[in-house]
């Protein structure tokens, strides 16, 4: 047993640090650290920088233009980019649709779509959730009927993250309404500019626009946009969900948030002393820090397992549950750290370009909104309750 990184891994970490020092725009890092809203241009800019360095597709094989990195390297990359304040790479193209295309797509689909993900031509969004389905993924109703060389798509998707920026959406659609729930589903790639598609914002509880409803009204989709076989989309859907995702525990983000918490709390006063010296608050911080040490080690154990060939299965559900709860707790402490200044809600202050005068400490403005926003962590990607049921069945055999 050896808890240390190898010299090669340490060298790799230095390489990533050098890259971040050189290439991560300081104003972008400041926005991320300050909890400001990122614009479409911000995301695209960072995406292009990573792509130019060959660091965008961290879990793709080299053959497709990925890094070919080991799980440990990916972990180090996640940790360093988060610590430096880099924006998180949006998963929809790189980590969700791409692996499905690599496994189930035609050569033509791979040749066309994968390079467009790397060079930023396409911004993908996800068309899984529906109003009546949610975590019951196979309960979807959106219909696709074959009509010659096209599918005619009708229905509605929801919770479509950043769909307002996307030009492509991957969708689960029902192609055989008579078949059993999971058997009549197909996986379709749809161009968002096709006539009949309407995107409507859903404003979330923090006042932000992150998610959307997407409506399909007789949308014509060429049959060559089908991935895999008709009515056999469920394996694609599941592969996407269970496909090995690094960083599901969010260790890098949690570490960065903990650092931010210590620095914010260190500037707040209680009885004239920094809040970090208040025994109660210091203990709360210490407890999440210890939980994070444990979770990081658990994560590394799973990674080491993956490295030596074992496939991370339901363990990733445990990481997701623990990681999301931990990150929620850190945002809870961040909100508490500014006391009554968690109350003012000045939405423009969450954008970087604003002339509005802050109320209270400038860094306080996004904290309560961030806390409310992070409630999503235990809901999306299969709620924590769904994850627990997966663990109960797959690991515990209940």
């Amino acid at each position: 047993m050896d808890l240390h990184y190898t010299p090669e891994e340490e060298a790799f970490r230095e390489e990533i640090r050098d890259f971040l020092r050189e290439k991560l725009p300081p104003e972008l890092a400041a926005k991320v650290r300050g909890g400001k809203r990122l614009t479409k241009a911000d995301h695209e800019r960072w995406h292009a920088i990573l792509s130019a360095a060959g660091y965008l597709a961290v879990n793709w094989p080299r053959a497709y233009g990925g890094t070919g990195w080991s799980p440990v390297q990916r972990h180090i990359f996640d940790e360093e980019t988060a610590a430096a304040g880099a924006p998180a790479v949006l998963a929809f193209g790189v980590n969700m649709v791409a692996p499905v295309l690599m496994k189930f797509g035609t050569q033509a689909q791979k040749d066309y779509y994968l390079p467009r993900i790397l060079d930023g031509s396409d911004w993908w969004c996800q068309g899984y959730s529906e109003p009546g389905a949610g975590s019951d993924l196979a309960g979807l109703k959106t219909r696709a009927e074959r009509d010659g060389e096209h599918y005619v798509v009708n229905g509605q998707k929801t919770w479509t993250t950043l769909g307002q920026y996307a030009n492509k959406i991957f969708c689960l659609v029902r192609t055989d309404p008579q078949a059993k729930k999971q058997e009549g589903i197909s996986f379709l790639l749809i161009d968002m500019t096709t006539p009949g598609i309407t995107v409507r914002p859903i404003i979330t509880l923090d006042g932000g626009r992150e998610v959307n409803e997407v409506f399909f009204d007789n949308v014509l989709v060429p049959v060559e946009n089908l991935v895999g076989e008709e009515n056999k989309g469920w394996p694609c859907a599941k592969y996407l969900l269970t496909h090995e995702r690094t960083g599901i525990a969010g260790i890098g983000q949690a570490k960065a948030a903990l650092q931010h918490l210590k620095s914010v709390a260190g500037r707040q006063l209680k009885h004239g002393r920094p809040l970090t010296e208040d025994p109660t608050f210091a203990r709360r911080i210490a407890r999440v820090e210890i939980d994070l040490m444990a979770l990081e080690t658990t994560n590394l154990r799973v990674i080491a397992e993956a490295q030596s060939g074992g496939a991370p299965g339901a363990e990733s559900s445990l990481l997701k549950i623990n990681g999301s709860v931990l990150r929620q707790e850190i945002t809870d402490l961040l909100r508490r750290s500014v006391g009554p200044y968690a109350l003012p809600f000045l939405s423009e202050l969450m954008d970087a370009e604003t002339n509005q005068t802050p109320v209270g400490p400038a860094e306080a403005a996004p904290l309560a909104a961030e806390y409310f926003n992070r409630r999503k962590l235990s809901i999306y990607g299969g709620s924590n309750e769904i994850q627990k049921t997966i663990v109960a069945k797959a690991i515990l055999g209940l």
Partner: protein, 389 residues
């Protein structure tokens, strides 16, 4: 980074696991804990025969040079079987101190017989008012013409009543809470002026209260340079913490296994209770806690042989998390078992009791949380705030 055991470590684990399977039956345990010694001398002899009593010590004193990972591995297996034997008291705590501070003569007089299974040691450090603070020592050691005179009280000394030799801490100088001025002394259990009050503990082990009333010992009974023992005590306690964390993880594993089996077998309302989602999710929560506890035991074990700051941070973090996880797993295992979880004749509640009591040994979750805060503060020494944001 590697989380798998080496071949030698895996062999050690398998050996101990077999011993636990063969010799740690629950019926036998119930009988043993009622016996006079409170543990099984035959099992202890087997420990000695397979070299277990020398596991953490260097080869020059007759051990086989194991480190933190070996210690954690051994204790985890012993924890799965809920040992009654004085491994923590004799081998890990007192033995470590003699190895670290003892002269070659002391090692051969006290450590070797202990490793051979011929004598037992105990570490008498805690006092009625010291709670878990290692630097709180009120017992005095006053130099006399031929040696030392000890006066004071020691409390909840693990296996103090069974030991042949006690390693006793006493203050040679300084205020009651000074790290400097603490000495360690080797005291025979039949020393004049020493009274011992042994008793059983709620988790089935043995402990004793000690009164030292003008106990006179020769100069060569001092272990190390009198007055400078603090860092050795801290290091021995770190070893004890890794041992306890390993033991706790083993006990948690048994609790979780038994509870999961119960959920799969016990029927109510015509179905197994494990088919109820609310119970499934509670079981998953326990499994998540167990995984976190395992990680912390590994982390503490891996840092034990490193430098002090890293070691202390890791062991305090581990003991805090394992204290929390152990209590929850103990309470939930009892709850999920229902009434059967409340009965003396069933093994599960005995594991649960041990888990809760481990939190009372060498510092509970609150103590180690405070200590973690203190260590962090000392380590960070106020970095410039501008560097962070």
């Amino acid at each position: 980074m590697r989380f798998t055991l080496s071949q030698e470590q895996a062999l050690l684990r398998d050996t101990v696991a077999r011993l636990v399977r063969e010799r740690f039956g629950f019926e036998a345990r119930l009988k043993t804990l009622e016996s006079a010694a409170g543990f099984d001398r035959d099992v202890w002899r087997e420990f000695a025969e397979i070299g277990l009593l020398g596991a953490p010590f260097g080869e020059e004193v007759g051990g086989f040079g194991g480190g933190g990972v070996e210690l954690m591995t051994v204790m985890r297996e012993l924890g799965r079987g809920l040992l009654l034997e004085p491994y923590l008291a004799s081998v890990v705590l007192a033995g470590s101190l003699i190895e670290r501070l003892g002269t070659p003569e002391q090692c051969s007089d006290y450590l070797r017989p202990m490793i051979a299974g011929e004598a037992l040691l105990a570490f008498a450090h805690g006092e009625p008012d010291s709670r878990y603070a290692l630097e709180q020592v009120a017992t005095r050691a006053v130099a006399t013409s031929g040696g030392w005179r000890l006066d004071g009280r020691k409390s909840v000394v693990l296996h103090g009543g069974e030991a042949n030799t006690l390693v006793v801490s006493a203050r040679t100088a300084g205020a009651q809470d000074d790290e400097k001025g603490i000495g360690l002394f080797l005291l025979p259990c039949d020393a004049m002026g020493l009274s011992l009050h042994p008793y059983p503990t709620i988790d089935g082990l043995r402990a004793a209260e000690l009164e030292l009333d003008g106990v006179v010992i020769p100069a060569e009974a001092a272990l190390g340079e009198p007055g400078t023992a603090y860092s050795a005590i801290e290091a021995a306690v770190a070893r004890g913490l890794v041992a306890l964390c390993g033991e706790a993880v083993g006990a948690m594993e048994t609790c979780c296994d038994m509870t999961l089996d119960y959920l799969k077998q016990r029927k109510q309302f015509g179905v197994t209770i494990g088919s109820f989602q609310v119970l499934q999710h509670r079981m998953v929560d326990l499994r998540g806690l167990l995984e976190q506890a395992r990680s912390m035991a590994i982390l503490a074990a891996g840092r034990l042989d490193g430098e002090r700051a890293e070691r202390e941070r890791a062991v305090s973090a581990a003991k805090n998390l394992i204290g929390r996880a152990g209590r929850t797993i103990a309470e939930e295992s009892i709850q999920l078992h229902g009434g059967i979880g409340m009965t003396w004749e069933y093994a599960l509640p005995h594991f649960a009791k041990r888990l809760v009591m481990i939190d009372h040994l060498l510092g509970d979750e609150d103590h180690h949380l405070d200590r973690f805060v203190m260590l962090e503060r000392a380590a960070s020494a106020a970095p410039p705030l501008s560097a962070v944001n």
